[in-house]
């Protein structure tokens, strides 16, 4: 009997590890695709052609870029702190990759469907900033340091608005569990949180842009004033890891936005959809969000630092607070769902 229990435990563990490996592969491949589509969409928006020579439609361009980076020399500046210089990209990538663990891809398909799923995401995303900050500090370069400082200030400022809009979602769903949050939005698109909780959706999306350091919030790596920001002194695969982390962050942020506000894996008007349809719906919504990320980057110019702080503290935070108040009052009056 005991052996059987151990066997089932091992099977469960193996199942999760396998799912995790699959998800990491999927994310890395989607990073490749996202990099390619970012360049193509940017080219389209700017009336250019974009990369179209390597492979069909230029699809193999990212692979060629990675090969180039792989064969470059790995340089650590002589005055840099070697240990932290190596550690920083690892932290960034770790934080970007582990967030996906609690995201449900279909009903019952998640690597770890824990009860505090939403808080886990907040915890891990708040750790990602260490990668950038340490990278900036360890490079021993004033531009890098400024980039690192900017990123930590930015993260702290936007985390509050993000957390508050998450609270409004939790109030609506009456649970911290990601699957429950998706289930509470039902298969009827009108009940999805982007309509029920519109202000929260806007606040969270803006804060997610800031947390991912995506344009218009890409001040930590503002090329014009900071050379390359926190990653100025990084080359070869270490730079590639930062790059990978940035795009993985964007993909995972899209997944989280989809889960919290766009009904997650719910297929419109088909509540009993089989799991592969649900995974497909989830993927389609995620791709849509990634497109929005790219679209915004090539449409909105970068903020000034004062604008960034004003937006975070004077607009977004009060808005998120007001939204929480409204949602809580609504739930009290209408009795939840």
């Amino acid at each position: 009997m005991q052996y059987l229990a151990v066997f089932f435990l091992a099977m469960e563990l193996a199942h999760r590890v396998a799912l995790g490996v699959v998800m990491i592969t999927v994310i890395i491949l989607s990073v490749v695709l996202t990099v390619w589509s970012e360049r193509r969409v940017a080219a389209f928006i700017q009336h250019r052609v974009g990369p179209n020579r390597v492979g069909p439609f230029g699809l193999l361009q990212p692979f060629a870029d990675v090969m180039k980076l792989l064969f470059k020399e790995d340089v650590v500046p002589s005055s840099a702190n070697r240990f932290y210089h190596v550690l920083a990209p690892m932290i960034s990538l770790f934080a970007a990759m582990t967030t996906v663990a609690v995201v449900p891809f279909a009903n019952g398909i998640a690597i770890a469907d824990v009860n505090v799923g939403m808080l886990y995401i907040l915890a891990i995303t708040s750790l990602g900033v260490y990668g950038l900050t340490i990278a900036g500090w360890a490079s021993n370069n004033k531009y890098s340091l400024l980039g690192g400082l900017r990123s930590s200030a930015q993260m702290i400022s936007y985390e509050l608005a993000m957390g508050l809009s998450v609270v409004s979602v939790i109030v609506l769903a009456d649970s911290l569990n990601m699957t429950n949050i998706v289930e509470s939005q039902t298969a009827n698109p009108l009940y999805w949180n982007c309509f029920r909780n519109f202000l929260g959706f806007v606040c969270f999306t803006v804060a997610a842009f800031a947390e991912c350091n995506r344009a218009p919030f890409d001040l930590p790596e503002a090329e014009q004033e900071l050379v390359g920001g926190y990653n100025t002194e990084f080359g070869a695969m270490k730079f590639a890891m930062f790059f990978l982390a940035e795009y993985a962050n964007m993909i995972v942020a899209s997944m989280v936005i989809v889960t919290l506000f766009l009904g997650g894996y719910q297929v419109p008007f088909w509540s009993e959809a089989p799991w592969f349809v649900q995974v497909g719906a989830f993927a389609a919504k995620t791709v849509l969000m990634i497109f929005v990320f790219i679209w915004v980057r090539w449409s909105v110019p970068r903020f000034k630092y004062s604008q960034l702080m004003n937006l975070g503290w004077k607009s977004l935070l009060p808005l998120a607070l007001l939204n929480l108040l409204l949602v809580a009052a609504g739930v009290l009056l209408l009795g939840g769902k």
């Binding site: 505090v116 808080l119 915890a123 708040s126 900050t133 500090w137 400082l149 985390e159």
Partner: protein, 175 residues
Amino acid sequence: MDVSGILFVFLGAQIIVATVGTVWSRNPVTSALFLVLNFFALGGLYLLLEAQFIAVVQVIVYAGAIMVLFLFTIMLLNLDNERALAEKFDLRKGFAVLLGGVLLVELLYIIGLKTPIPIKQTALTTVQLGEAKYIGRELLTNFLFPFEIVSILLLLAVVGAIVLAKKNFTTSPKS
């Protein structure tokens, strides 16, 4: 020894190493990062006690917010030269040592006595303690008074921070 026992020893060792590292590191950034490691291990210990909620909040609040601010300050001040930081022995430090010694004696005394200290107990089971819902309900009913006291304390700290910032602002030389 079962799995949780092994994990406990592992996390405990990690906490001890991280704490010693925090105190002994000559580099302030290393100290801060050791402290982050310490908070992580502490979160792990909470998980072992099935207090999921407290474990995650521990990581969010301490590792994710407070230590980022610490690191920010350390980097902004650029505390490279740790010799300049080393303080001479003065009266304040002596007083701190005295107070610390008194606290240590008190703690040892209480542990030595093994008398149950009157602490308000909660009726929650360990599994319930892990869930945000039960903790929230308990905080706003049974423990409302301490909860509000802590809120006022935090509010005071915020007001104090603003007062300090304002004071510096007016007395600093005009740039």
